[in-house]
């Protein structure tokens, strides 16, 4: 008998220690890590199917190349976890460490790469500063003409997001976590301790602690309690090409346009780009439609930087929502005024790569009260005071 991968028929207990709303990588990764620590009174409740949100829609990149020491160290932890995760979860994650190559075409971007390389050296990440010729040695089809400098970290990599999330779900369910799909939470009723969750089906679940792991949809849950965090959804488009034999090792990012592209282990080129907001067009919605504008702008930048892609064909394009927090840092921890509601959102388009480390450290904090430096930075209470001046500038896309 195969293990269920979550079902609308999975019986919901009347009470659990921890109820997790959202069956994406955050919710399921947390469930897996909680169960591994022995906390098995856990239910994950997903409105649609597993991986239906941003976890099933992202490019699958994982990189240490961030702009500050906390994020670099966190991602070193995440990538270290990924090395052993396929074995731990018993599933092929298609994890491939082909590196990340950042290229700079402007003096300002070049200065950022210099600053990053220095920072990464201090933290212990193996990032190297490269000349345009050295960058071309790693990606022979790049047009080195406009490139001023590059950085390369050989340990950065890519995964195939779908099996990653299924792997977390299966292992959590094996250990007794309940995963209920196609079930919307329509109300959260505060109790003396914790909450009663009311499902659209009429079922109720009492939980001592509730985790909001609904990413770009997290405002909808929070607003039911009159809570308004400043994270907002933002549409991000992406596409994949027809599959090719392996020809591209690293994921390449052009810092000046926000273009990124990598070759997945399945052979497709997976690529996206930052699109400037257009006046009069609301990009702050959760509408997940695709645009011709995205294809046109991306194709122009990609074929300029990598002319060999001119004859390559686009197979499919889709959209996923970033869950953007104003300072670029996630919103993780107890909610001011509702300490039993734990936020696990606001990852600003980079939750997938941070999830292996983030869900492990949050599980350790929930079960053992263990501190982690990122929990201070991610504290949901930080928005009450004066705005912080720090903003992570290595947010791509």
């Amino acid at each position: 008998m195969s293990t269920s991968m979550g079902s609308p028929r999975a019986p919901l207990p009347e009470r659990v220690d921890i109820a997790i709303i959202g069956g994406g990588i955050m919710g399921l990764g947390l469930a897996h890590n909680l169960a591994a620590l022995g906390q098995r009174s856990v239910a994950v409740i997903e409105r649609s199917y597993l991986v239906s949100g941003a976890s099933g829609r992202n490019g699958g990149g994982l990189r240490m190349q961030w702009g500050d020491a906390g994020n670099v160290a966190l991602m070193m932890e995440s990538i270290e976890i990924c090395r052993g995760l396929a074995q731990e979860l018993g599933i092929n994650l298609w994890f491939r460490q082909g590196g990340y190559l950042f290229v700079a075409r402007s003096e300002a971007s070049e200065a950022r790469l210099h600053r990053n390389a220095e920072l990464h050296r201090e933290v212990g990440a193996p990032t190297r500063l490269l000349s345009p010729t050295e960058a071309q040695a790693i990606v022979p089809h790049l047009d080195p003409g406009p490139i001023r400098a590059a950085t390369y970290n050989p340990e950065d990599g890519v995964v195939f997001p779908w099996p990653f999330v299924w792997g977390y779900a299966a292992r959590a369910i094996d250990r007794g976590v309940v995963v209920r799909t196609h079930t919307e939470i329509v109300d959260l009723l505060p109790e003396a301790r914790g909450f009663t969750l009311v499902c659209a089906s009429g079922e109720r679940v009492s939980a001592e602690r509730v985790v909001n792991a609904t990413g770009a949809w997290s405002n909808q849950i929070n607003r039911r309690l009159g809570i308004d965090f400043p994270n907002r959804p933002h549409r991000h488009e992406i596409l994949s090409s027809e599959p090719l034999r392996p020809f591209l090792d690293p994921l390449v990012v052009d810092l000046d346009s926000g273009l990124y592209f990598s070759q997945s282990t399945r052979g497709e080129l997976v690529t996206g780009i930052s699109l400037p907001d257009v006046d009069g067009y609301d990009d702050d919605s959760l509408a997940l439609h695709s645009s011709l504008r995205f294809l046109a702008v991306l194709a122009a930048r990609l074929t300029a930087l990598m002319p060999i892609t001119r004859s390559l064909k686009v197979l499919r394009q889709w959209t996923g929502p970033y869950d953007v927090s104003p300072d670029g840092d996630a919103i993780v921890g107890p909610t001011p005024g509702h300490p039993d509601l734990i936020q696990l959102c606001g990852f600003t388009g980079h939750g997938f790569m941070m999830a292996p480390a983030a869900t492990r450290l949050v599980a350790r904090w929930l079960v053992r009260g263990e501190a982690h430096p990122m929990l201070q930075r991610w504290d949901p209470a930080r928005f009450k005071g004066a705005p912080t001046s720090r903003r992570e500038d290595m947010i791509i896309g």
């Binding site: 991968m5 979550g6 346009s257 504008r293 294809l295 046109a296 194709a299 122009a300 004859s311």
Partner: protein
């Protein structure tokens, strides 16, 4: 007929793999697509989605009148990056031109 039947020839998804997904209680087309990769290859599900829908209906897991296909993804057929790069306004706007990185400094 042997069990080794390819339902999705682009991504080599066999009937056995679909049975495995169903045994894991994944019974909608969107879920089976994401669990097996069915329908994500060059034909984009044109060949495999209907057989999958029929199979779900035959097993009582979906109703013919309400079974939902997965979301169709543009473009309708594969298009080269060169053709797409030639798109002109109104499909792109002034804000979309590549800024001269030096002028933007």
């Amino acid at each position: 007929m042997t069990r080794r039947v390819f339902v999705c020839r682009c991504e080599d998804v066999t009937l056995d793999e679909i049975d495995h997904a169903i045994a894991r209680e994944l019974t909608t087309i969107e879920e089976i697509k994401r669990y097996t990769g069915l329908g994500t290859g060059p034909c984009q599900g044109r060949e495999c989605m209907v057989p999958l829908a029929r199979l779900l209906c035959e097993r009582g897991l979906a109703e013919p009148a309400t079974v939902q296909p997965f979301t169709a993804r543009p473009p309708t057929e594969p298009v080269t990056f060169a053709a797409l790069a030639s798109a002109q306004p109104p499909y792109t706007g002034a804000a979309d031109d590549d800024k001269d990185p030096e002028a933007a400094r």
